[in-house]
């Protein structure tokens, strides 16, 4: 069987020399940036350097964590990832609202945490429950997508509240609660944050071959098993994105209103 022969081939090793050759690809990006003066050449160089450093560090860290095999270490890593993601999501916002870090942290904790628990216990049956080989990569994927969604949702909500403040205030003036008055901005913010995930679900396997699936296949996994994992990943991303978006939007919405159902002056 041709397929089985391919699967039984050893994985091609990647040496540091091979990686040095791959730097040529970065040079192409830098070259294009210089050619059209996009101002991104330096960012590409710094980004490439950070990629090497960060991933190398993470690689050694994972080797260490896998070797130590302690649940509290895994949980600590997950919480650290969560804190960094929350800060990154807030830093990308134009409006610096007090409390947004907390709101985003709760949204990512619940959105990503609940999804991870569901997937690891109910679907993948991870054993032991804290097995870092599964939990850390799964949480990384979930968190990255939830973070992007939370950023998009918060940013869009702030924009909608600004552009629609007269409409929101007209609802309030008629006796609407702040929840009712902000219904349209909330709806639009949620749509904006979830559409990329919906699009990804629509085209996966046709337009894009996701990284996890391709990684598993290159690492020698059965393509059908890789696909099953990828299906789970796509579903869990949908769940994490929806939960994180809705929590961040509902939490963030409250900051635009006073207890007396008035728009806060800073937002008008």
């Amino acid at each position: 069987m041709q397929t089985l022969d391919v699967l039984e081939q050893p994985i091609l090793d990647l040496t540091w020399i091979d990686l040095t050759v791959a730097v040529g690809l970065v040079l192409i990006s830098i070259g294009v940036s210089c050619w059209h003066r996009t101002g991104l050449a330096r960012s590409f160089a710094v980004g490439a350097l950070r990629t090497v450093l960060q991933l190398t560090l993470v690689g050694y860290l994972l080797v260490y964590i896998f070797a130590i095999d302690r649940w509290y270490l895994v949980v600590a890593i997950l919480l650290l990832m969560l804190a960094v993601a929350s800060k990154a999501a807030v830093d990308r916002q134009d409006a610096k609202t007090p409390g947004l870090f907390g709101i985003t942290g709760v949204a990512l904790l619940l959105g990503s945490g609940l999804t991870l628990i569901y997937v690891s216990i109910m679907v993948v049956h991870v054993d032991p429950w804290y097995n870092p080989r599964y939990l850390i990569p799964l949480f990384g994927m979930i968190l990255g997508n939830a973070m992007n969604a939370a950023t998009l949702a918060a940013d869009r909500l702030a924009g909608e509240m600004e552009t629609r403040h007269t409409e929101v205030e007209a609802y309030l003036a008629l006796g609407a609660s702040s929840v009712r008055a902000a219904r349209e901005p909330v709806r639009r913010a949620l749509r904006a944050s979830m559409i990329p995930t919906v699009n990804a679900l629509m085209v996966v396997g046709i337009v894009s071959l996701p990284g996890m699936m391709t990684g598993q296949i290159i690492a020698g996994a059965d393509p059908l098993l890789a696909i099953r994992y990828q299906i789970v990943v796509m579903f869990m991303l949908g769940s994490a994105v929806a939960l994180a978006s809705v929590i961040v939007v509902l939490g963030y919405r409250r900051t635009f209103f006073t207890a007396a159902e008035q728009l806060r002056a800073k937002d008008v």
Partner: protein
């Protein structure tokens, strides 16, 4: 910024808040609807501070129509339905009430199915008025209702507002900088300038002291 404002608004008549743009008329209306709260002092309704009312219920009783009409998404009917939903109007009463407010705002029933964004500014202002009436307010606050309208449409709208006061016995407070227009319908007048009330009382008396005819340079 309003300062040292001490006024009493009579019931069931039209009161005008006159004064130049930026003088504090809109700020005063926003305080009455509790879109803003005063830093100091009280605003009383039926002898009770308005902060003691549930704010959403207060806004049903004291409705505000903005200077620039704001249409909610959908048709005129959808706009009225939003107000009805907020005021807790029963489904079986909606049609009757919608027809009534369309009549009061002098809007053609055929407009009910028209998308709000297809209306003229004058029609939008009337729909905003009708929408506010759907909550059956006791007090109607109108912020420069004619400022975006041509003179003919403005006169017609003010005639409508005048008849609302008589037919529904509403307490109406109109912010305007058009003194000559205010003289035609106001019973009571308050002159607000640079955040202070400089005169108030019977409209004929108060408005006769103001430059005539002068809308912009008051």
């Amino acid at each position: 910024m309003l300062q040292n404002v001490d006024i009493t608004i009579p019931r069931h008549v039209i009161t005008v808040l006159c004064g130049p743009s930026g003088g504090g008329k809109t700020s005063l209306l926003r305080l009455l609807n509790r879109l803003d709260d005063p830093v100091q002092g009280d605003i009383l309704l039926d002898g009770r501070p308005i902060v003691e009312y549930v704010v959403t219920e207060l806004r049903h009783r004291v409705a505000l129509v903005f200077q620039t009409p704001v249409m909610f998404p959908g048709t005129v009917l959808d706009n009225l339905a939003v107000a009805a939903e907020l005021a807790g109007v029963q489904d079986d009463q909606f049609d009757r009430l919608a027809s009534q407010v369309m009549l009061l705002a002098e809007l053609e029933p055929s407009l009910l199915e028209r998308p709000g964004d297809e209306l003229s500014v004058g029609q939008k202002q009337r729909v905003n008025l009708a929408r506010a009436l759907m909550t059956s307010p006791e007090v109607l606050l109108l912020d420069e209702p004619t400022s975006a309208l041509d003179p003919k449409t403005a006169r017609a709208l003010m005639k409508t507002i005048g008849s609302l006061s008589e037919v529904r016995r509403l307490t109406i407070i109109v912010a305007t900088h058009r003194v000559s227009e205010a003289r035609q319908y106001a019973h009571h007048a308050v002159v607000v300038q640079e955040g202070r009330v400089i005169d108030s009382g019977d409209a004929a008396r108060v408005l006769s002291r103001l430059p005539d005819p002068d809308d912009a340079s008051l």
